[in-house]
């Protein structure tokens, strides 16, 4: 199985220094558990400490050299399409960049591949050309899927830790620099940069004048999310539920 692991230019969340993104190293760990034919792929101006992925067991890293402002999607899509990969792994989001987690989706669309999010374990499926994906859901729940390859899979931080770093392996590994097609990134909306602050927990509010017990209940219950669990609903039923939920949140105009 030929696997590509997407590596992005991350930053350490505390020191702010360039660093590999931990969840992408975890993706690498899952890839190495499946196959020896693993290639790392990075599009950007600088390889920097992504070289260290070689120390975590990556045998070969392709660096698609491009300008910092370039959109990485076309270059990556072209490299992935020509590389004949069965599986493309990415982290669920980068760390230190825009961290929107959208790139794998954009790539999946460009390549016309299915995408499965938040894998914590991967195993070859019983039928050839399939893959068993264990997916992390909220609050520790897990779901097992069997998907047909090729596909794009993003990896969740709950996946096992990557193999520890080995300096000599990083020294030995191969970095293959290729010119990525330059493609100006579509103008992004003006944005503002601020230091990160953890978002306060949303606490459901009990109605005015509620008793202490009710307020406590409301405060503690919010942690359990609410909502309804539907097991194997019909597509119509599921779609109806989603629309209803969005309406309840005021995100869709009322009927």
């Amino acid at each position: 199985m030929r696997i590509a692991v997407l590596l992005s230019a991350g930053r350490h969340p505390v020191s702010g220094r360039p660093a590999p993104v931990p969840v992408e190293l975890q993706a690498l760990g899952l890839a190495l558990g499946l196959s020896d034919e693993v290639t790392g792929l990075h599009a950007g101006p600088d390889i920097g400490p992504l070289r260290d992925a070689l120390g975590h067991g990556l045998p070969r890293l392709i660096h698609l050299a491009s300008e910092a402002e370039d959109d990485p999607v076309p270059g990556l899509a072209a490299a992935l399409a020509s590389g004949g990969f069965d599986l493309v792994l990415a982290g669920r989001a980068g760390q230190g960049g825009e961290d929107s987690g959208l790139l794998p989706y954009a790539l999946a669309r460009a390549l016309g591949l299915p995408i499965v999010a938040d894998a914590v374990a991967l195993a070859p499926g019983a039928a050839p050309g399939t893959l068993i994906v264990e997916q992390a859901l909220a609050r520790g729940a897990r779901r097992r899927l069997v998907i047909r390859l090729p596909a794009v899979v993003t990896v969740h931080p709950a996946a096992p830790a990557p193999a520890p770093f080995a300096f000599a392996a990083a020294r030995r590994g191969i970095v293959d620099v290729q010119a990525g097609p330059s493609a100006a990134e579509p103008a992004r909306p003006a944005s503002e940069e601020r230091p990160y602050r953890p978002r306060p927990k949303l606490i459901a509010r009990a109605g005015a004048g509620a008793s202490a017990a009710e307020r406590l209940k409301a405060a503690t219950e919010s942690a359990s999310g609410g909502g309804r669990l539907l097991v194997a609903p019909s597509p119509e039923e599921a779609a109806g539920e989603i629309l209803q939920h969005l309406r309840a949140l005021g995100l869709l105009p009322g009927r």
Binding site: H12, V14, S15, R17, A161, P164, F167
Partner: protein
């Protein structure tokens, strides 16, 4: 010369020939080792001194063993040499000569008897069995037989029936001993001598502590030691020098805690690996406690560490690098260097660090701090206390190195005490603040030499930007790195530990100390201060100034026992039966002290972690601050009070 005496001389000659052949065969195996710089001439010249002074200084800690060895080895060598000389006709015909020879053999016999008494009827656990149990009989046979023959010769053949029996004994015992020379107990004799000549740390014989790890060139094709040939040849000689006396085993904290490490067994496994088609089957000493199963096979070209090899990785990671084994070893073997070489290969080449040690090494790589905390938060402990920054001052008399302990709540209290004392004594000092990175000790002990060297270079670059006379630190690990290990990367500093510095302030009257009367205190020596740097007096002198009752634990000073906090052992976290700090705390409790004085953030954390009824743990800086506050509270003694 009697015919029997002539036959004895020929027996000795045969012995020498057999032993020489076997020893040469063994010594040829050392050639697989890597090159090392050895000053042969100086080593050879120094051999008698190294043996008679340095080795006997250690052997002499066990008076019985010292007498036993002096008699057995001295008698054996002198007796055999004289018997050989007897072949010179002019000497062989002198009766007095044979009488002297008989005397030497009698001494050797007495030594042999002492060997026997030590091993029979019950062999102490630290001594090895197997071939070693045969040793007293071979010694007694050879020495006793030699004695009878020489005695007979000194009387001109008057006792010839006894002489005949003696010759038979001498021949059997002598050849038995000679046959032990390549793999048995007698190997220590020639390998030990060679080790003393070609010792990898000659500074140890010149009064230096010589404890810094040797830097590893990061462009070497194979980093660290995987196979026997990856060790320098003089390291291989060192492994062969082991006499299996078990002193290291008794001193080893990991062994005591039931972790799978026994330094004696480790050295034996390494020595065994030298032999092609090696196996560890002949070892007959105490095993690794709770040994993890390994194949127990190896040899040149084969890996040493691994399930399918000689040594289980857990054995390597159990070591706290406390150097207690090295301190106790009469053969001056360097266990810690061997362990670090093996760890370097595991970490740098295989990335096979213990699971919980991988994260701190990763955080060090990208944040210069093993827990990934902001470097600027290192000074948070001082909230409210003025803490001058080098960056704003540009220089100061003293650069205060805070170390990793600064992030810990408990140790923060110690550092606050130290900073308060510096203010009280009006010391001109400053800290690096956010510019201080981890010193690299943890990375280096875990085998991550690349990480250590990067941190060392970065810190040296930072330090080069400021003016200061001395570096002061409360962390002996940082002290050791900065004082001894940064030298190899171009950083030479005068580094002083806070205990020595406070002692100096008290001696020069810059700190006035009141008495902490009625406190009963025992002092726990940090390995990296006492054993690594030889500083055992200053902390005690300082404690004595506090007017306390100072009690000594059974193991103290350079022979102190580790708290379990060094060498990355807390993050490697290899399972044993007991915890090392619990063992050490029990030793402290046995003194009846109410306070254990410490002088290291690791010791502080490990000993504070001991649960149940136990003495309080205080860093010496905290005790000194208490004493200073006592003095302040007694107005008659202060300057203002007098005015």
């Amino acid at each position: 010369m009697t015919e029997l005496a002539l036959l004895l001389s020929l027996t000795v000659l045969a012995m020498v020939a057999v032993a020489g052949t076997l020893a040469t065969r063994r010594a040829l195996l050392w050639r697989i080792g890597g090159a090392a710089k050895v000053d042969w001439a100086a080593g050879l010249l120094a051999l008698p001194r190294r043996y008679l002074v340095d080795v006997h200084h250690i052997v002499g800690r066990d008076a019985y063993a010292a007498r036993m060895h002096a008699l057995a080895a001295g008698g054996l060598i002198v007796g055999s040499a004289l018997a050989l000389l007897g072949l010179v006709p002019a000497l062989g015909d002198i009766r007095l000569f044979w009488w002297l020879t008989a005397l030497a053999f009698a001494a050797a016999f007495a030594g042999g008897a002492m060997v026997g008494r030590r091993r029979y009827p019950r062999r102490p656990a630290r001594l090895s069995g197997g071939r070693f149990q045969l040793l007293p009989f071979l010694l007694a046979a050879y020495a006793g037989g030699g004695f009878l023959v020489a005695l007979d010769a000194s009387l001109g053949g008057a006792l010839w029936p006894l002489g005949c029996a003696g010759l038979a004994f001498a021949a059997v015992g002598g050849l038995g001993l000679a046959l032990q020379i390549d793999r048995g107990p007698m190997r220590h004799a020639f390998a030990g001598a060679a080790h003393l000549v070609a010792h990898p740390r000659p500074g140890r014989f010149a009064g230096e502590r010589a404890t810094a790890l040797a830097p590893l060139a990061l462009d070497t094709p194979r980093l660290g030691a995987a196979m026997p040939e990856d060790f320098a040849f003089n390291r291989l000689i060192g492994f062969d020098a082991c006499i299996q006396c078990g002193r290291c085993e008794v001193a080893c904290p990991a062994f005591a805690a039931g972790q799978p490490l026994n330094p004696k067994r480790l050295i034996q496994d390494l020595a065994a690996s030298l032999q092609p088609h090696a196996s560890n089957a002949t070892y007959a000493g105490s095993p690794y406690p709770n040994a993890r199963p390994v194949a127990g096979v190896g040899g040149p070209g084969l890996p040493i560490v691994g399930i399918g090899a000689m040594i289980h990785p857990d054995t390597l990671w159990s070591c706290t690098t406390c150097r207690a084994c090295v301190e106790e070893c009469p053969m001056m073997i360097e266990h810690v260097d061997a362990i670090i070489d093996l760890r370097r290969f595991q970490t740098l080449e295989l990335g096979a660090v213990p699971p919980r040690a991988a994260l701190p090494l990763m955080e060090l790589r990208y944040a210069d701090e093993p827990s990934g905390r902001p470097l600027a938060a290192r000074t948070d402990f001082a909230a409210g206390l003025p803490l001058p920054l080098m960056a704003t001052r540009g220089g100061a008399d003293i650069l205060l190195w805070l170390g990793e302990g600064a992030y810990e709540l408990r140790y923060g209290r110690t550092l606050r005490a130290l900073v308060s004392l510096l203010h009280k004594a009006k010391v001109d000092f400053a800290v690096l603040g956010a510019e201080e990175r981890d010193c690299g000790d943890l990375a280096r002990r875990l085998g991550d030499e690349a990480g250590f060297q990067r941190l060392a270079r970065a810190n040296i670059e930072t330090l080069s930007r400021y003016r200061f006379a001395r570096i002061l630190t409360a962390d002996p690990h940082a002290l050791h790195a900065l004082r001894n290990e940064y030298k190899d990367f171009g950083g030479a500093y005068e580094v002083v530990h806070h205990t020595a510095f406070l002692d100096e302030l008290a001696a020069t009257g810059r700190l006035e100390l009141g008495a902490l009367s009625e406190a009963r205190v025992t002092y726990h020596d940090p390995c990296y201060l006492g054993r690594y740097n030889g500083e055992v007096d200053a902390p005690r002198r300082l404690l004595d100034r506090l007017g306390i009752a100072r009690l000594e634990m059974e193991r103290s000073g350079k022979r102190s026992m580790c708290c379990g906090g060094g060498g990355g052992a807390p993050v490697s976290d290899i399972e044993g039966e007991r915890r090392i700090p619990d063992i050490r705390m029990a030793q402290a409790m046995a003194t009846g002290a109410g306070i254990v004085a410490v002088a290291c953030p690791q010791c502080s954390a490990m000993l504070e972690g001991v649960t149940g009824e136990r003495p309080a743990v205080h860093d010496i800086a905290e005790l000194v601050l208490m004493a200073v506050e006592r003095a302040d509270a007694a107005p008659a003694r202060t300057a203002e009070g007098v005015a």
